[in-house]
């Protein structure tokens, strides 16, 4: 039987939302099929119903020709389906080995863990699939790439022959991605089948045999890789033409707005996270900060925004030291921060749009009388309406709570609030994480427009493509230090990748 999976007319319904509507999906032995679509298109939902994490409302699933109902991940695993989640499903305080054998542990005398047998089996697996990870090390001490390999080993240990990879490259350096793709091709050659969920079209073109495109819960296209172009895929994903590159003029940098001098910041474990960091950002330029996540970018931005204190060093705003100023007084002089996690620090999703829009400036004369004592509802409503219009936020009206909004619309709310302060220095982290393509295009344009109005922008992103698209120049962070400065376009992705992986010496050779 060559057809591994046949899903027909799958419908998944969440309260108020149809996540999948009569979706057909199939997968052949030895095939790598990419499943692409914007965030919220229903890719993950479809795969979760295949992995038994959700029960579809209607539709049929056949595995190797047999009609099945998959009630739990356990069922899926026993049918040979494994899923590698976008967010690692690992236990950081246990070892590689313990994570792999969890739930399918070899035993001796009927009750005790047979550590030796387990280890031998895992080592054979590592050998066979060329996936080497330190076996007795706690998972929290592994690199991101290693963690992903542990996830894959976990699936292989359960002897699956269908692997679902949910956005596996989101956290990898370009080099690690290349290694992953090589392995994927080896597995498919060995008869396993792979579903590759992604929205990075270039990667999809590189690795997939065939491509399924989803939009708003429906399939909008199925194609063999060679028969379709990136541009066509993008159009099918978004439903209209999108410009994948932001139009912008060459930056005309003005005076230095932000300067850091030998800045040192510790992380919450009291370990050095940012080391002797010196940087200048000028008015009217976007400086991109590249780097694999967890190399000090987070701590840098938090220290600059005042959410975390610097250990030593200086931060200057137009020459004035603001190292020890409060968050509020930083805002007052024009330093504005768009945090990386909109749900955690950016918004209060249980509250309404207008409440979110005025948070942080209640005492503004525009919004209240008597320095925050009484609201001016009329003028708040006018302001909210203007924001909805200017930033094209899709919301019925300004009294609605934000929790039902899509990620892209929520992000637009944060951006609207912060950009309407007319910042002189914008600190912005992951501006388009989990945001659909239409909104990405919009946010990028807004950032470039803000730059053209003379704002200095420090942009941190895990998405290298985004950085290359809108940065006027770029720095690369590795283990808290600046390991590379790229003065401007054209950017060499390979070079940046090497710098991100901490391999600058190799480059020098």
């Amino acid at each position: 039987m060559n057809l591994f999976i046949e899903m027909s007319k799958i419908t998944n319904v969440f309260p108020g939302v149809i996540a999948n509507e009569e979706v057909d999906f199939s997968l052949k032995r030895g095939e790598i099929r990419a499943l692409v679509g914007e965030n919220g298109a229903g890719k993950s939902t479809l795969m979760k119903s295949l992995y038994g994490m959700i029960q579809p409302a209607s539709g049929e699933i056949r595995i190797k020709g047999e009609l099945v109902t998959i009630k739990s991940p356990n069922d899926a695993i026993s049918m040979g389906i494994g899923m590698i989640h976008q967010h690692f499903m690992l236990i950081p305080t246990l070892t590689t080995l313990e994570n792999i054998i969890m739930g399918v542990t070899p035993v001796k005398y009927g009750v005790f863990i047979d550590g030796k047998a387990a280890k031998k089996k895992v080592e054979q697996l590592m050998e066979k699939y060329n996936l080497h990870v330190p076996i007795d090390v706690l998972v929290q001490d592994l690199s991101v790439g290693d963690k992903q390999r542990v996830e894959i080993l976990k699936a292989l240990f359960r002897e699956v022959d269908i692997l679902i990879l949910d956005e596996p490259t989101a956290i990898l350096t370009p080099q690690e991605t290349t290694v992953l793709f090589k392995m994927m091709k080896e597995w498919s050659a060995a008869g396993k089948a792979i579903v590759f969920i992604s929205h990075k079209l270039r990667e999809v073109k590189e690795v997939a045999d065939s491509i399924t495109i989803m939009r708003k819960g429906k399939i909008t296209g199925n194609a063999i890789n060679n028969d379709i172009t990136e541009h066509e895929i993008a159009t099918l994903m978004v439903g209209r033409e999108v410009s994948m590159k932001v139009e912008k003029t060459i930056a005309v940098p003005g005076d230095v707005v932000l300067e850091t001098v030998d800045l040192n910041v510790s992380d919450n474990q009291h370990l050095p996270a940012v080391k002797d960091f010196s940087l200048k950002v000028r008015a009217g330029e976007i400086v991109g900060v590249a780097g694999v996540e967890g190399n000090g970018q987070h701590e840098l931005i938090e220290a600059l925004a005042g959410m975390w204190s610097a250990k030593t060093g200086q931060m200057l705003f137009k020459g004035d030291d603001f190292t020890h100023r409060s968050i509020r007084s930083r805002m007052d002089i024009g330093i504005v921060h768009v945090p990386e996690d909109r749900l955690k620090t950016g918004l209060c999703s249980e509250m309404s749009l207008w409440e979110n829009l005025i948070s942080g400036r209640l005492e503004n004369i525009k919004f209240s009388r008597g320095k925050g004592l009484f609201f001016r509802f009329k003028s708040i409503a006018d302001f909210s309406k203007k924001m909805i219009e200017d930033f094209r936020i899709k919301i019925p009206d300004h009294n609605y709570t934000l929790k039902t909004l899509s990620g892209g619309n929520q992000q637009k709310v944060v951006i609207a609030r912060e950009l309407s302060r007319e910042p002189q220095l914008l600190l912005i982290s992951q501006p388009t994480r989990g945001v659909d393509m239409g909104a990405i295009e919009f946010i990028h344009k807004e950032l470039v427009a803000l730059r053209d109005r003379g704002c200095a922008i420090l942009l941190v992103s895990a998405d290298l493509q985004e950085l290359m698209n809108i940065s006027d120049r770029m720095i690369v962070m590795y283990e808290g230090e600046i390991v590379g400065e790229i003065p401007g376009e054209p950017y060499d992705e390979n070079e940046i990748g090497y710098l991100m992986a901490g391999l600058q010496k190799e480059v020098a050779k």
Binding site: S72, N74, M89, N99, V104, R158
Partner: protein
């Protein structure tokens, strides 16, 4: 001072520590799987009561002791279902469980035996001290190691089993994994809700046995309203202080038992009784403060 600090004190500490150890081992299971069973105290109280009542009615020590465990388990199972399956708030449900245990025991006592506040009927079968051969003739060692009731020896055995289960068996790996990252274990194809509910059941059973130690081992078949006096909470502290590892939990319970024993000794010196009764609780606070300051054990 020699009335307080002598070799007998060690024996008293062990005696006072054992009821705590049963409950604390129970708490260890629940904490390991990532939950908190505030109602350990309630299970313990149910245990003290069932041990006396079931023992009296059946005139069987075994029925009293095992019944205490089952009684504690029933309460914990209810609490576990409410928290894990019905997503009740752990603190609210737990406090409810403790108040329920207090109320139901007093209620049954009044309805069934027409007694108020304490159980006074006799005979209630209870544990007698066991002298270990050979050791009983060696000075000092006999005081420390011999002359306890059966549950004292049993508690050590259960502590060892608990350690083996948690750290040497697949189910222990699953329990600890569930505590560290429930979603990950679920994704590995395990019904984590069942794991957590089972841990609640185990905790209730052990806490019930701990309660029985209070009423039919340390005391010879006597029960009074709310007789655990918050020992279940101290057991929770002992589990936390022992970092949910049975090896250290044993030591923590010994320390708390020592505080309890010293408190009782001070009564001999005719100190203000209410101050004396405070000692174990003050020690609890100090120990938790110390453990938060630095990794003590």
């Amino acid at each position: 001072m020699s009335e307080i600090l002598n070799i007998e004190l060690v024996a008293a500490a062990i005696r006072m520590g054992v009821p705590l150890l049963f409950a604390a081992l129970g708490a260890t299971f629940v904490s390991s799987c990532g939950m908190m069973n505030i109602a350990i105290d309630g299970s313990m109280l149910v245990g003290t009561f069932v041990a006396v009542v079931a023992g009296f009615l059946s005139q069987s020590l075994a029925v009293g002791f095992i019944g205490a465990g089952i009684g504690g388990m029933m309460l914990a199972l209810l609490i576990g279902l409410l928290i894990v399956k019905l997503k009740g708030d752990g603190i609210v449900v737990g406090i409810g469980g403790n108040l329920f245990a207090w109320g139901i025991t007093v209620f049954i006592l009044e309805e069934l035996f027409r007694m108020k506040g304490s159980f006074t009927a006799s005979p209630v079968p209870s544990f007698k001290a066991i002298s270990l051969p050979i050791i009983e003739n060696i000075p000092y060692l006999n005081t420390i190691f011999s002359g306890y009731t059966l549950p004292v020896y049993l508690s050590i055995l259960i502590a060892i089993i608990a350690w083996i289960v948690l750290y040497r068996t697949p189910i222990g790996l699953i329990i600890r994994g569930t505590g560290a990252n429930k979603e990950a274990v679920k994704a590995a194809g395990i019904n984590t809700d069942m794991v957590q509910i089972a841990c609640f059941a185990v905790s209730g059973f052990l806490a019930g046995l701990g309660g029985a130690c209070l009423s039919i081992a340390n005391l010879q078949g006597f029960w009074t309203e709310n007789m655990t006096a918050g020992r279940g909470y101290i057991a929770l502290c002992a589990a936390a202080f022992g970092r949910n590892n049975p090896k250290f939990v044993v030591l923590a319970c010994l320390l708390f038992g020592l505080a309890d024993a010293i408190g009782i000794r001070f009564q001999v010196l005719q100190w203000e009784p209410s101050f004396v009764l405070m000692i174990p609780y003050i020690v609890t606070i100090l120990m938790l403060w110390a453990s938060s300051k630095k990794e003590v054990l």
